[in-house]
């Protein structure tokens, strides 16, 4: 039985299979509409996350399966002090597959150790959020047709943004991927990513402070939110926040086929005027999130539908 804890759990070849399956689902949704009939997905969310949960539930419903679960620790037996290990043993009796989100790092791994059904880590604190990375990879692969030979700009909070760290770890497995890391000094990529991942693997990267400088060379611009509470003082936040807002004027400097991604929710780091630009791909990305979760559910349940 297989679980998904980290985006690196899949080899490059397995990931390729998953992405091709997701693309086939996108093209032929009817073929998969009953693939999970009679199967149940449990969404065990110990902390609220509307987007991820609904994406999982939509994925299972699209496959003809059913969903059950809880949406906060207060509405589960965790409020009575039940351990994650005990909860998953019980859930294993009710469902065929489980997506778990928990504020504590490693909670999904604990669940997988006692589970009789496949467990998907739907986010464990600031640690891993593999289905977001799979979503990002499918979006890039579908819109650019490749995951290699490209320059990717990562912009905003690169220090605390786990989606950015996971994406870097996933993309360095492909040849000739370069990174442009755009952030204020305070929110630069942590040294363990710079040294242990980028430098250790001889990956080409530059660190810049302004989107304008970086944007002309990019194939992908991955935006993240710069949060006020991450700054040491209000003055720095006010000084820097507009540097990390993508507007049409800045986007005009980009290549005509560059893609703008964002894990969402967006607050103000991408102006609404950018939404109508054909390069804005962040809402398509949310759609790809459903396809990749459908592919993941099928893969972990071992359900084989012949691809076309």
């Amino acid at each position: 039985m297989r679980h998904l804890m980290s985006p690196l759990d899949f080899t490059v070849e397995e990931l390729q299979e998953l992405l091709l399956l997701a693309q086939d689902i996108e093209k032929h949704p009817d073929k998969y509409a009953h693939a999970c009939e009679g199967k149940k997905l449990a969404t065990c969310f110990y902390e609220p996350s509307t987007r991820t949960r609904l994406s999982f539930e939509a994925a299972m419903l699209n496959l003809g399966g059913n969903v059950l679960g809880f949406h906060s620790a207060n509405s589960s037996s965790a409020a009575k002090g039940e351990s994650v290990s005990d909860t998953i043993r019980v859930i294993s009796c009710y469902a065929d597959i489980c997506a778990i989100r928990h504020p504590k790092e490693g909670a999904a791994l604990v669940a997988s150790q006692k589970s009789k059904i496949p467990v998907i880590n739907a986010g464990d604190g600031g640690h891993q959020h593999p289905t977001q990375t799979l979503t990002d990879l499918l979006t890039i692969y579908s819109l650019k047709g490749r995951l290699d030979n490209m320059t990717i700009g990562l912009c905003g909070d690169l220090k605390f943004g786990r989606t950015v760290h996971s994406l870097i770890n996933a993309l360095i497995r492909y040849p000739n991927v370069k990174f442009v890391l755009i952030s204020p000094e305070e929110l630069r990529i942590p040294s363990y990513i710079r040294e242990d991942v980028l430098e250790a693997n001889n990956i080409e990267f530059v660190e810049l402070e302004r989107i304008e400088e970086a944007i002309p060379q990019l194939d992908i611009l991955y935006m993240t939110r710069v949060q006020r509470e991450r700054f040491f003082n209000e003055e720095d936040y006010v000084r820097l926040k507009d540097f990390y807002v993508l507007n049409q004027e800045k986007l005009n400097r980009a290549k005509p086929d560059m893609m703008v991604l964002h894990p969402l929710p967006r607050v103000n780091e991408i102006s609404v005027e950018v939404d109508d630009d054909p390069r804005a791909a962040y809402f398509k990305q949310a759609q790809y999130g459903v396809y990749v979760r459908m592919a993941l559910i099928l893969t972990l349940l071992g359900i084989d539908v012949e691809k076309e």
Binding site: S83, S85, K104, E105, G106, A107, L109, V110
Partner: protein, 144 residues
């Protein structure tokens, strides 16, 4: 000069950094074994100036010596059988250590989950880096 007799079967752990023998006594769970243990502290050493020594009279399969490699791989482990040293065991960093050190990351599931083993995995042998199996936080600091 103290005299402590030799042992028939067991281990002599030599070249322990002075002052660390009590910690090793606990880490090896010698307090749980029903056997004779001698702890010699601050013995004179040509190599180290001062050193600690632990002698344990026990069947040679009774001790899990993996943890010693984690604590200090410079310790010399002499295996005694029939009153003689029959082997000097080389110490290596164990691939995994269980319930010896605790994860100090307050965001880690080990901080709340009942009766969950604290497991650390050797992720970089060269730099001697251990990471928590669950949250992958790097272990920094001495064994508890």
């Amino acid at each position: 000069m103290l005299n402590i007799s030799g042992i028939h079967e067991g281990f002599v752990l030599d070249h322990i950094k002075s002052g660390r023998s009590l910690q090793i006594y606990h880490d090896l769970k010698l307090d749980k074994l029903d056997c004779t243990v001698a702890i010699i502290m601050n013995a004179k050493s040509n190599k180290m100036g001062k050193k600690d020594i632990i002698k344990v009279e026990c069947p040679i399969e009774a001790l899990d010596l993996d943890i010693l490699g984690f604590i200090d791989h410079n310790i010399t482990v002499n295996v005694i059988k029939g009153d003689k040293i029959v082997e000097k065991k080389p110490l290596a960093l164990p691939k995994q250590i269980k319930n010896v050190i605790r994860c100090k990351n307050p965001r880690c599931i080990t901080s709340i989950e009942q009766e969950l083993d604290h497991i650390f995995i050797l992720t970089d042998e060269e730099k001697e880096v251990y990471r928590c199996k669950y949250c992958e936080e790097k272990y920094a600091g001495s064994a508890e």
